[in-house]
Symmetry: C2
Amino acid sequence: MDNQLILYAVPLSGVIALLYALFKAGWVSKQDSGTEEMATIAGHIADGAVAFLKREYKVLTIFVISVAILLGFANSGRVDSSPIISVSFIVGAICSALAGFFGMKVATKANVRTTHAAREGLSKALNVAFSGGLVMGLSVVGLGIVGLSTLFIVYNNQFSEINQVINLISGFSLGASSIALFARVGGGIYTKAADVGADLAGKVYEGIPEDDPRNPATIADNVGDNVGDVAGMGADLFESYVGSIIGTMVLGAAFVPVFDAMGISTIAAVILPLVIAAAGIIVSIVGSFFVKVKEGGNPQTGLNTGEFGASLIMAVLSYFIITNILPSSWVAGGFTYTSLNVFFAVLTGLAAGVLIGLITEYYCSTHNKPVVGIAYQSVTGAATNIIAGLGTGMMSTGLPIIVLSVAIIASHYFAGLYGIAIAALGMLSVTGIQLAVDAYGPISDNAGGIAEMSGLPPEVRERTDKLDAVGNTTAAIGKGFAIGSAALTALALFAAFRQQAGVESIDISQPVIMAGLLLGAMLPFVFSALAMGAVGRAARDMITEVGRQFNEIAGLREGTTPAEFAHCVDISTKAAIREMILPGTLGVLVPVVVGFVSKDMLGGLLAGVTSSGVLLAIFQSNAGGAWDNAKKRIEGGIEFDGTTYGKGTEAHKAAVVGDTVGDPFKDTSGPSLNILMKLIAVVALVIAPLI
Amino acid sequence: MDNQLILYAVPLSGVIALLYALFKAGWVSKQDSGTEEMATIAGHIADGAVAFLKREYKVLTIFVISVAILLGFANSGRVDSSPIISVSFIVGAICSALAGFFGMKVATKANVRTTHAAREGLSKALNVAFSGGLVMGLSVVGLGIVGLSTLFIVYNNQFSEINQVINLISGFSLGASSIALFARVGGGIYTKAADVGADLAGKVYEGIPEDDPRNPATIADNVGDNVGDVAGMGADLFESYVGSIIGTMVLGAAFVPVFDAMGISTIAAVILPLVIAAAGIIVSIVGSFFVKVKEGGNPQTGLNTGEFGASLIMAVLSYFIITNILPSSWVAGGFTYTSLNVFFAVLTGLAAGVLIGLITEYYCSTHNKPVVGIAYQSVTGAATNIIAGLGTGMMSTGLPIIVLSVAIIASHYFAGLYGIAIAALGMLSVTGIQLAVDAYGPISDNAGGIAEMSGLPPEVRERTDKLDAVGNTTAAIGKGFAIGSAALTALALFAAFRQQAGVESIDISQPVIMAGLLLGAMLPFVFSALAMGAVGRAARDMITEVGRQFNEIAGLREGTTPAEFAHCVDISTKAAIREMILPGTLGVLVPVVVGFVSKDMLGGLLAGVTSSGVLLAIFQSNAGGAWDNAKKRIEGGIEFDGTTYGKGTEAHKAAVVGDTVGDPFKDTSGPSLNILMKLIAVVALVIAPLI
C-alpha cells in the first residue's frame, strides 16, 4: 500500500478512538446513579476533582505560555528548527490536559454508577467500571495520535527537511512530558496527603475513627484517587505513549537518505511507529469487547482475555505492518537492517515488559515469599517491617535490571538504536486497553468508598472489593511496561539527543561527564525527597484540620452532624498545587542549565538520571506494593511461634506503618521518576540544536 | 633531596608508627581495670570479640588462598605482570587483618580501663579512650605504609618496567579491599544483629527489659561495637588509605617516560603519594599530643585541636613535599602540569572533604532543621517519622554530590586524572589521627556499657556519655572524608583501569555500556538488600534466643541468675560469618564475570557502581544518623501543639522505630558501599591486563 495513504489513515484511527470514547462516556452517564445520598457524595467527589484540575491547569497555563514564548524566541531564525515548535509544545500540553480532564470527568461519573450497578450484581458493575476506564484509555491514545499525526502531516507538507520536521515534532513530546510531571506529582501529593492524613488523624487524636465516613478527610481521599490515579496516570501514560512514538520517529529519520537512495518511501521508518500505534488503537477497541464476566464468575478472566488477547493480536499484526512498510533489508552506517529484525526488536520489548511485570508481581503478590517475609517481620514490630520492606524493594531491582540490560543489548543487536526505540513502542502499542484496565482500579476503589459512605448493605462493598482486587496481574504487567518502556524510551531519546547535539561520544571516564553522571544520579533522590516531604507536610495539615473539626463540630463524633469535607478538599488542593511547583520546575530547568554549561555534562546527566531513576522507581514502587500486600496478608491472619496475628494485633499495626510509608513511595515519588527521566531527555533533545 | 633516599625513609615512618602504637598499647594495658566484676564483663567482651575475629579470619584464609592461587595462575607467563602479584595480594590481606586484630585487641582493653578512669575523672578517661583509638589508627597507617612501601622498593629493584611494578602493587590493594569488604559486612551484621535483637526482644516478649544488663544479648551488643565499629572500620580505612595511595601511584606511572626525557627522577610522581602518607603519619603522632582535656573542660576542644591541627600542618607540609619532589612544571599528553597545581588539587580534596563533612553534620545534628523536623514528624507516629527520615536522607545527597562534582572538575582542571587521585589522598593523609578519633567513639560507648552492667554509680556513666557525645563534628568530617575519598579513589582507579585495559573511550550511549551502567547501578541496591536482610534474619534469631532464656532460666527476670551471654555471642558470630559470604563474594565475582564478557561493559559497570554507590551510601548513612539524633532530640523533650513529648511517649516510641531502621543503614549497608565501589574498581584494575 502507499505509505502516504497509510499516513493519512493514522489520524482517522485516533478519531475513531475519540468517537468510541464519547459513545462510551454517554453510555456511562446514562446509567443510574442510585440513591440521593449516593449522588450527593459522588457529586462532592466530582466537584472536588474538577476544582483541583481547574486550579492545576490554571497554574500550568502560565507555565506552558512562558515556556512556549521562550521556546519560540530560542528557535527563531534557525534553519534546523522554527518558532513553530511552540505550537507543537502547546498542542502537546493541551492534548495531555484534555485527555486527563475528559478521562477523570467520566471516571467520577462511573464510580457511583458502578456502586449502583454492584447493588444488582458483579457483571454489570464490571461493565460500568471498565467502560469508565476505557474512556480514559481511548482519550489518551486518541488525542495522542490525532495531535501527533496531524502535526506531522502538516509539518511534513510545509517543510522539506525531515530533521526540521522532527525537531518541531519533539516539542509535542516536551508539552506532554511537562504536563505529565506536574500532573503526576500534583496528583500524587493530593491523593497521598489525603490518604495518609485521614489514616493518621486517628493516631494523634483519640477517638477519631480511621477509615470511617465520619472522618472529614474521606471525601478528599476519594477525590485523590481520581486526580492522582486517574488523571495523573492518564497524563503519565500519554507522555510514555507519545515519547516512545517520537523517540522512534527521531531515530527513523536517520534512514531517510538511505531510503531515498533506494528509491522507496523516504519516511517509511519515521511513520512506522505512528502506524503501529494506530493499529494498536483499533486492536484495543476490539480487545475491550472481551472484557466481560458472568454472574458468579471471576472478573480476572475477562480482563486477562481482553488485555493479553489484544497484546497477542498486536504482536502478530505488527509483523505484517513492519514487513509491509519497511523494505526487507537496507544498510545504514555499516549495519544491515532487515524488517524481520525490526519485528524481533518489537517482540524483545514485549517479552521484556511482560517479564518485568511478572517479576514485579512476584515481589508484590500476597502469596509469595517476599511479602510473606515482610508479614512475618511485622511480628517483631514496625522497625523490622520497614527494614524488610526496604530490603525487598532494593532486592527487587536485581532481576528487572538484568532483563532490561538484556533487552537493550538484544534490541540493539536486532536493529540498532532504532530497535531500542521501537522495542519501547512494542510495549506501549496497546496502551488503550492497558490504561483502561489501570483506570478501572481507582473507579472500583471509589465505588467501594461510596458504598460505605452511603451505608449500602455489605454485599455491595464485597462486590466492589472483588472488582478492585482483580486486575493485580494486569496492573503488575502494566507497571512492568511503564518502567521498561520508560527506560528504553529514555535511552532512545538519549541517542536522539546525541545525534541532534552532534556529540561524538559521551566518554564516562572524562571528569566533566562523570560529574554530570553523579549530578544526574542525584536528581531522582532529591526529587523523591521533595515529593515525600510534600506528602508529609500536607498530611500534617490534614491531620490538624481533622482534629480541629472533631473538637469544634458538635455531633461529628456521634455521626449526627456531617463533617466539613470541603475544608479538607481545599487543604489537599492547595498543598498539591503549591508543592508540585518546585520539583516540576527542577525537572525542566536542570537539564537546560547543565546543557548550557556543557553539552558533554548534559550527556552524563542523562545517563545518571536514567540509571538512578530506573532503580529508584523500581525500588520505591515494589517496596510500596510489597508493604501494602503484607498488611493485607496479615489481615488474612498469619501464624508465628504458635500465635496467630490478624487485624488489630501489634503485627497488623506494624504492617500499617509499612503501608503508610509505602504510599508516597508507590504513588507519588516512584511513578514520577519514570516521567522525570523522560522529561529530562526530551528537554535535552529540544535544546540540542541550541547548545 | 635525593628521591631514592626519601623513598627509603617511607617505611621508616611506618615503623615509627608501629613502635609508638606498641608503646601506647603497653601503657593502656598497664592501667587499672577496676573491680573484679568489671574485669569479668570486659573479659567476656574481649573473648567474644577475639573469638569472632578468629572465625572470620579462618574463613577469609580460605578465600585469600583460593584467590591467590587463581591470581598466580592467571598472571603466569605474562610480561606485563607476574604470579608475584599473589604475594602482594596476600601481604595486603595480612596487613589489613593484622591492623584490625591488633587495634581491636587494644580497644577491648581500653574500654574497661576507660570505665575505671572515669570513676576518677574525665581527663584521665579521655586519655585512656583516645590512646586506645590511637593504637588502632597508627596500626592501620603503620602496617599500610610499611607493607606497601616495602613491596614497592623490592619490586622496583627487581623489575625494570614501571607498569609491571604497578600491576604487581595493585594486588596489595586488592587484598586490602577484599578483607575490608568482608570485615565491614561481617562486623556490621554482627553488631546490628545484636543491637537490634537486644532492643526488640522487649517488644515481642512481655516483661523483658530493653537495654538492661539482664538482657542476654547485651554482651553480644558490646562485642559488636568492637568487631564492627573498631575492627570493621579499621579494615575499611586501611583499604581507603591504601587504595588512594595506589590509585595515585598508578596514574603517576604515566609520567615516567616524560620525567625520563627531562632527566629527572622518573618515579617522582609515583613515590609522591607514599611520601605524603609517610609525612601524614608523623603529623598524626604530633597531633595526638594535643588531645587533652582539663577536668571540667570540654573534650571536644582537645579532639578538634588534634585533628584540625594535624590537617592544617599537613596542608602546609604537603606544599613543601610536592614542590620538592615534583619538577616545577612538565608537559604530558598535551597538558601542562605544575607542582603548584598538584598542591592545589590536594587542597581541593581537603576542602571538599571538610565541606561534605559539614553538610553531613548539618543533616544529622540534633540542633538543625532536618533532625528537628524528623522529631516533630514522630508525633504523628512511626510512619511519618520513617517518611521524614527517608526524605531527609535522600535530600542530603544533593549538596555533597554538587561539592563532589565541583571537586572532580577542579582537581582535574589542576592536574588531570593524577589531580583527582591525589585529591583523594589529600583527605586521607592524616588517617592516623582521624581513625584514632573514630575508634575512640566505640571505646567510650563500651566503657559506658561496662559501667552500667557492673552497677557503677551514675556519674561514671555520665562521664563516659560525655566522652561518647563529643567528637560528633570530627566523626562527621571523618564520614565526609570517607565518602569523598571513596568516590575520588574509585574514579582514579576507574581511570587507571581504562589506562591498563587499553579502552579508548567508554561511550555511555553505546548499548552494551549502558547495560553495564544499569547493572552497575543495581549492584549497590542488591548489596544493601543482602546486608539488611542478613541483619533482619540474625536479629530474629537473637530475639528468639533472648525469649528462650527468659522463659527457661529461672531467676533471670529477677536478676538473681546470670544470663547465658555466650549463646547470644555465638548466634551473632555464626550469623555474621554465614551472611557475609554472599555479598562479599558478589563484590569480587561480578566484575570478573562482566569483565570477561566485555571490557566495555565492565567500564559501564564501574561508572554505575560508583554513581549509585556514592548516592546510596550518603542516603543511608545520613538517614541513619538523622534518625538516631531525632530520637535523642525527643529524649531531650520537644513541644508540639501545646504538648511536650519526651522519653516514653508515643513520639519517642516512633523515633525508636526510626533509629532501629537506621541502624543497619548507617552501620552495615551504608559504609559497605564505600568499599564495594572501590573493590569492584580494584578487581577491574587487576584483571585489566587479562581481558
